[in-house]
């Protein structure tokens, strides 16, 4: 569980921007918050946060580092725009729901149906506004690149 | 004030190097101010051969040609010892490297023997006696040191040596 306005400098320090491999990036996620938080994120598959998660710089490592650490879903009261966009484009599921965040506690089990907009955790089942179909489509295929039919197919390439 | 002293004769496996091995080759500049020295171990001799450092084992002896350690006054001798090298023999050392080796207590000896050995040979180096004994039994003379330099090397470098001197003068 994280607070409000968690920025991308806290999520992923700039000096490791040259690290391209997701699992290697995972070692630096939340480095600014100290080793205790870093180990917690490695065990979790869901990260919850308050308002404006991921504000600040557009570094994509903040998202891919979480994926490298095994996180599959991020729930927040609200997302910073570029973090939200990077998450969808890389296949990291996101739910924007203040109510759901308030209902969660660290260590909870959570089951979600993104399309239906339904989440069940220890304190019961909650509804949330599902993402628009266009974005769900990208998420379902695992991100922007995966949504392109196979490698090498690019609009610019003359068949 | 007891000081652990080190003997100044060594038996070890040889690695031969050529002339003018400079300290940029031995210890890349980016490590001098790096706090995390761990990555230095693999990057030793990167400029010469990136795979060389991995071959070094504790107690190995490097034997080189002329002007070993020329260039910057960075602590190349201490870095080589960290990689397991117990002694360096060269036809000649650069001035800053020789001083750096003595000051950091790394036994080195000037002796023209590089053309008489091959990688993997076992040799014995007696720094105090300034001799190198080869596997074939021949003994070659090197450049002897004055006694106070041997004292510095024996006690492990200029720091322990100065502590001893300061204690003596204070006592």
């Amino acid at each position: 569980m994280l607070g409000d306005d968690i920025d991308t400098d806290v999520i992923y320090p700039a000096r490791y921007l040259t690290v391209l491999d997701w699992t290697e990036q995972a070692q630096h996620v939340f480095e600014a918050l100290g080793p205790q938080m870093q180990s917690k994120v490695r065990e979790a598959s869901v990260v919850a946060a308050g308002w404006n998660l991921g504000c600040g710089s557009s570094r994509e490592h903040a998202v891919t580092g979480l994926l490298g650490a095994g996180v599959r879903l991020v729930v927040a009261k609200s997302f910073a725009r570029i973090f939200f966009r990077n998450a969808i484009n890389n296949g990291l599921a996101v739910i924007e729901s203040p109510a759901l965040v308030d209902a969660l506690a660290e260590g909870d089990e959570l089951a979600v149906d993104l399309t239906a907009g339904e989440a069940t955790c220890r304190s019961g089942t909650l509804q949330f506004a599902p993402l628009p179909p266009f974005l769900l489509g990208i998420l379902r295929q695992g991100g922007l690149w995966a949504s392109v039919r196979g490698p090498g197919v690019a609009a610019g390439e003359r068949q | 004030m007891t000081h652990t002293t080190q003997a100044l004769s060594f038996q070890g496996r040889v690695w031969t190097l050529g002339d003018n091995i400079d300290t940029d080759m031995i210890l890349p500049g980016r490590f001098l101010y790096a706090i995390d020295k761990q990555a230095l171990r693999q990057a030793l001799f990167e400029g010469l051969d990136p795979l060389f450092a991995a071959k070094l084992r504790d107690g190995d002896i490097v034997v080189a040609g002329r002007n070993f350690g020329c260039g910057s006054a960075r602590p190349a001798a201490a870095a080589m010892r960290m990689a397991g090298v117990c002694c360096v023999v060269a036809q000649s050392f650069s001035r800053t490297f020789l001083r750096g080796a003595i000051d950091s207590g790394v036994p080195v000896l000037e002796c023209d023997v590089v053309d008489r050995v091959r990688d993997g040979d076992m040799i014995r180096v007696d720094v105090a006696g300034a001799t190198v004994s080869l596997a074939d039994g021949s003994v070659l003379p090197g450049n002897p040191y004055p006694s106070f330099v041997l004292d510095i090397l024996r006690i492990g470098g200029i720091l322990p040596y100065t502590r001893q001197q300061l204690a003596v003068s204070a006592g």
Binding site: - | D24, Y33, G47, L48, N67, A73, L159, R163, L166
Partner: protein, 417 residues
């Protein structure tokens, strides 16, 4: 039997009547010149149990190798240096924006004086031998000297290098040293002190004398010295921090060797990768395309060097495929360059001017090369991996050749521009 400058200075500082080459002596030092490298030996210094440095007035500290701190490690060492300076009450501290390369700051502020012994960690401490001092690098073993104000020396042999004649256009002290290195090799003067004589030296401005002594270490020498003359005294007038006594070699002093160089015969030289002793006349270099030009360092980062570069870059543009990284040797050089309009010329030509300091010379700071890239540099070393990864290559040359090559995109003499 006459004595050389090194022998006289060492004898006086070891208070014994005379010393001979090969003797080992313990001598007092007059000045310790340091950068943020001071921080690299703090644990060593503390381990000596002496809380105080021998004399705070005899230390000069000017951070210049990794400044403005380029990463966390650099910031760590710069901070520890500042804290130690405050703790010890060291007044001769030159923060960035006031200092620059330690060797230039030492000379500019009158801390290097004839007849004195000046030591430091950096291998180019010998630069200030141009002021008649015995300047010797101690590497990172200088912690004991911080505590005791003394250190051990092996008395060196002394060689005479006589440089006669008038240099052709675009030829200078850098080329004299590249020639000397090509002739004698990088261990030509191993352990020796070099004394520079001859009409070229007599007529040369101080900046050229600093270059001669700066690169003595590349030839294996312990140090280089230019015997003080009226030009030295004029330079020191109004600068010298203490009274000093000129020391020169006796006419019958025993020199181990003498080398004569006729400057008039020299054309600009370029040292090919990966050794400063690989110098060849520029006419034999052939077509070598370059990616970066570095102008600066304690060899050629003075105002005189920047003036030469500006005269060539005036009204011209840097080649589109080339980037020029220029770091003035000290902040006073930077400010002087601004006053003289040199920075305006550099900016117009497309040169990137960085803050005073060692800059790109040794890969510690910025201006690092990429894989397989080639640079021409006015610094003093081009060993493999010096300015970047082992696959990158560095050519050494004087400032005029560096500036001309920046315009041409390949190594070129200004005479052919």
């Amino acid at each position: 039997m006459g004595k050389t400058i090194a022998e006289k200075i060492l004898a006086r500082h070891a208070n014994c009547p005379a010393v001979a080459p090969g003797d080992y002596v313990t001598a007092d030092v007059d000045m310790v010149v340091l950068s943020e490298g001071l921080s690299l030996v703090l644990e060593d210094f503390r381990s000596l149990g002496r809380g105080r440095v021998f004399d705070p007035e005899r230390l000069i500290v000017s951070p210049c190798q990794t400044t403005p701190s380029k990463d966390l490690s650099a910031a760590f060492h710069s901070l520890r240096t500042r804290q130690f300076v405050q703790e010890q009450g060291i007044r001769n501290y030159f923060e960035i924006g006031r200092g620059g390369i330690m060797h230039l700051v030492t000379a500019e502020n009158g801390f290097a004086l004839p007849g004195e012994i000046l030591v430091g960690s950096d291998s180019h401490t010998c630069t200030n031998g141009a002021l008649g001092a015995l300047c010797v690098s101690l590497g990172l073993g200088f912690a004991p000297t911080l505590a005791t104000g003394q250190t051990w020396f092996k008395v060196p042999h002394t060689a005479r290098v006589v440089v006669e004649g008038a240099a052709r256009p675009w030829v200078g002290a850098k080329d004299v040293m590249l020639h000397l290195l090509a002739e004698k090799g990088s261990d030509g003067f191993l352990y020796q002190s070099i004394e520079f004589y001859g009409s070229f030296v007599r007529d040369a401005p101080m900046s050229e004398r600093f270059v001669l002594c700066n690169m003595a270490v590349e030839a294996g020498a312990k140090t280089g010295i230019v015997p003080p003359d009226e030009k030295t005294l004029a330079y020191l007038h109004g600068r010298a921090k203490r009274p000093f006594e000129v020391v020169t070699s006796d006419p019958d002093a025993d020199f181990i060797s003498e080398v004569l160089i006729d400057v008039a015969a020299l054309e600009p030289l370029v040292a090919l990768p990966d050794n400063p002793a690989n110098g060849v006349p520029i006419s034999q270099v052939g077509h070598v395309a370059i990616d970066q030009v570095f102008i600066g360092s304690c060899s050629n980062g003075r105002i005189e060097d920047l003036r030469i570069c500006a005269s060539i870059l005036e009204g011209r543009q840097v080649h589109p495929r080339v980037r020029v990284v220029l770091m003035p040797g000290s902040h006073s050089v930077y400010t002087q360059a601004a006053r003289e309009g040199l920075l305006a010329t550099f900016a117009a030509a497309g040169v990137s001017v960085g803050p005073a300091g060692c800059g790109a010379c040794a890969g510690f700071n910025v201006g690092v090369l990429g894989d397989g890239e080639r640079a021409i540099s006015t610094a003093n070393r081009n060993f493999k991996g010096r300015m970047g990864p082992p696959s990158s290559q560095v050519y050494l040359a004087n400032p005029a050749v560096a500036a001309a090559s920046a315009v041409a995109g390949h190594i070129l003499s200004p005479a052919d521009l």
